[in-house]
Symmetry: C2
Subunit: 199 residues, 2 copies
Amino acid sequence: MRRKNKSLKLVNKEERSLHIYEKALDLFLEEGYDNTPMAKVAQRAGISKAGLYYYCSSKENLLFIIHKYYLEKYFLPILDSAKEIAEPRERLSFLLHNYAKFFASHPAPRLLINEVNRLNRKHLKEIKDFWKRGFDLIRHTIRELQEKGDVKKFRDSFASFLAIGMAAWIYNWFDYSRPSTANELANTMVDIFFKGIEN
Amino acid sequence: MRRKNKSLKLVNKEERSLHIYEKALDLFLEEGYDNTPMAKVAQRAGISKAGLYYYCSSKENLLFIIHKYYLEKYFLPILDSAKEIAEPRERLSFLLHNYAKFFASHPAPRLLINEVNRLNRKHLKEIKDFWKRGFDLIRHTIRELQEKGDVKKFRDSFASFLAIGMAAWIYNWFDYSRPSTANELANTMVDIFFKGIEN
């Protein structure tokens, strides 16, 4: 009865889907993607296994949907906001700060990045394209600053990947039980990288 | 017959072991750890499956041996050399440069880091202790520089993990078919991080 009441609270299909994707994400993070059969996902989401297949066609499909959902909700908006910043120093600072916050706000990227190769070729390409948009924007901004003479003439791809590495690696070590330190971490990262590339 | 001749060339047990571990490492990198049954490892190494179990007791044990072998051969010597450098600026520069080179010289860390959680608890602890020795040395050196007033008073753990992230992330993007750029990459990383933390 409890389950039924719970799912009744979720009024429409979209809301029910989000509930399921978030439960699946939590479970994959706790137990690992490989160790989590679809029956367990269904149990955690409070629906039947058959019901789960109404929301995704396979485990791979579920992983893809979670990827897309998470990146569209939390990652792409960073890029959209950054594109509206005309001044390149300010844009780069915004990008780096929000990359760090993205990786320090939730351990989801640990799952997304570690298990990305479980996606089929088409899905993998789509997800890699999301990440690449971020890389391209950082690289383009570093180039702009190099052309203005504000930033040293490092190979721009190297500098961009090093910045992304500082941020992305966060999921391997950050203590997510202390979210109040995320802002200090983002500031530290921006300070180090910015001063480090200055001419 | 070919197999027999091949193994005869390897004169002692140690040499034969190294041959097997390197073949297994290559195969795991090419095909993925999960997708590689022990029969395939044996085939690649040119021995029987029963013969393979003479060198390791299980697939997990093989992964552990590869980890230990690789880190003892290529990672721990960096720390040993660094410890002999008294001057902290020089020590930190040496550490960062060699971390970058370590990650840019071979894609092995991609396997080691991504699959480290396949190890059993005891083995996992042993391997994590290897990595922690590197972290502790970097952190200790940054603290030393902070006490001398040479480096800004960032939280030392954050600064250390950000440096390691820059280096470790290399395995996700570096083009290993262009090894000649590894040195330029290491120099770029040291330049950015060093200037970035300076007081």
